[in-house]
């Protein structure tokens, strides 16, 4: 067992020609005398003096524990990352329970990511700045206030709000009823848990309009009798922000 490996193999297992060296080294060390015992050590060994406390580390146990801790930390970080990604993806598709969806959307909004907040599928819409695209393609990104809110146009050109509203109205009139429209297909059933203070809506019309509500910055402030005017996208107003905060 001299010079054994971790798995029991010999150190010179693959080099039998070196076994003679190992045997010579063992023999030389074995034939060397035991160390002379000094006065201090002799006093400890015969019990006449207690050993002085040594301020040294215990590297073996601590080192191994630290390595295990590192592995455990890595696993935790990986698990946390995976959980965060899964949570984000689920939240982006609006698949979380409403309270969780709202909380996640609120948190993501701080990070500049706009997610449906479970309030009729709308985003939090707190930011007036440009925002990065969410990590998934399912939720529409929030266009900044004062820019075009129509998702069907690829232009990011800044247009006056009135123009943006007009574009949105035009799109609604065109009747984008394609059920495969992203956002609609992703809408989970039972997600319409609006707060009680939000005016009631015609569910059928609202579903038609759902794809046309591309941003979290839009609020419903239109005429309840008109699908077109009822869903006119607009920017967040102080009153709506206050209502959302409530």
């Amino acid at each position: 067992m001299i010079g054994h490996d971790v798995d029991g193999g010999e150190m010179f297992e693959d080099h039998p020609e070196l076994e003679a060296f190992a045997a010579d080294l063992r023999q030389a060390a074995a034939s060397a005398p035991a160390p002379r015992v000094g006065a201090a050590l002799a006093a400890v060994l015969d019990g006449s003096m207690a050993p002085a406390p040594a301020d040294i580390t215990v590297p073996v146990g601590r080192r191994r524990r630290r390595r295990l801790d590192t592995r455990a930390r890595l696993r935790l970080v990986l698990a946390g990352g995976v959980a965060a990604v899964v949570l984000l993806i689920t939240a982006a598709s609006g698949g979380l329970p409403d309270p969780a969806q709202r909380n996640v959307a609120r948190f993501a909004d701080h990070l500049g990511v706009d997610l449906p907040d479970g309030d009729g599928g709308e985003g939090t819409g707190h930011s007036d700045e440009d925002r990065p695209t969410p990590p998934t393609s399912t939720p529409p990104t929030a266009p900044p206030a004062g820019r075009s809110t129509t998702p069907s146009t690829s232009s990011n050109a800044v247009v006056p709000e009135s123009v943006a509203d007009a574009d949105a109205v035009e799109d609604l009139r065109d009747g984008d009823d394609d059920p495969s429209t992203p956002g609609r297909a992703e809408e989970a059933p039972g997600q319409d848990n609006r707060p009680s203070d939000v005016p009631d809506r015609d569910d059928e019309k609202r579903e038609e309009l759902q794809p046309e509500r591309p941003t979290s910055t839009t609020v419903d402030r239109g005429d309840p009798d008109s699908a077109v005017t009822r869903r006119t996208p607009t920017t967040l107003t102080p009153s709506s922000a206050a209502r959302r905060g409530a």
Binding site: M1, I2, G3, H4, D5, V6, M11, F12, H15, P16, E17, L18, E19, A20, F21, A22, D24, L25, R26, Q27, A28, A29, A30, S31, A32, P33, A34, P35, R36, V37, G38, A40, L41, V44, L45, D46, G47, A50, P51, A52, P53, A54, D55, I56, V58, P59, V60, G61, R63, R64
Partner: protein, 183 residues
């Protein structure tokens, strides 16, 4: 040199040593004194006996805090010895020894450090060890003289097992180049 381990007696001996029982200190000293002294002589420290004494005083002074198996204790003891070796190497590198020319000893095999290897007794072994880099020599001594596994050697040296394997591989290559073959 590879002393017989304490086996099942290790735990009661460790428990008694923690409470300051002299007989337990003696058992630990008898168990590890020769392999540690052999390792220290192989590394070429100036005063292997004094260093071995210091190793045991440190072990006994910190044994209260030790927790672990017999193998871990052995590895810990050699890590203390190795740390003292490193300390002396640093001291020696900062403070080159000076001696009058007429008092200078005749050069022996290897370098300046290798005169102490005479303590190991075998000139052939001395020459082969002297041809190794210090870290390679540490690995060879801990693996063969101290009878530590790769893992315990890594723990004693404060290196990863992979690094110890690499050092061992290079040591073997060096030994083969030096002609350390079966005679």
């Amino acid at each position: 040199v590879a002393s017989v381990g304490l086996g099942e007696a290790f735990d009661p001996v460790l428990t008694a040593a923690r409470t300051g029982e002299a007989w337990a200190f003696q058992r630990l000293f008898e168990w590890l004194a020769r392999p540690i002294a052999g390792y220290l002589r192989g590394t070429g420290v100036e005063d292997p006996d004094g260093t071995a004494n210091e190793v045991f005083l440190r072990i006994f002074g910190a044994i209260e805090r030790f927790e672990g198996s017999e193998e871990r204790f052995r590895s810990w003891a050699f890590s203390i010895a190795h740390n003292l070796v490193i300390d002396e190497r640093r001291r020696r590198s900062r403070r080159p020894t000076t001696a009058p020319l007429e008092a200078a000893p005749e050069p022996t095999v290897g370098g300046a450090e290798d005169a102490v290897l005479v303590a190991l007794g075998d000139e052939h072994v001395q020459r082969l060890l002297a041809g190794l880099a210090p870290d390679q020599r540490d690995v060879v001594l801990l693996r063969i003289v101290a009878d530590l596994s790769i893992e315990d050697t890594a723990a004693a040296l404060g290196k990863s097992p992979g690094a110890v394997k690499a050092l061992q591989h290079r040591a073997i290559a060096t030994l083969r180049r030096q002609g350390a073959v079966s005679r």
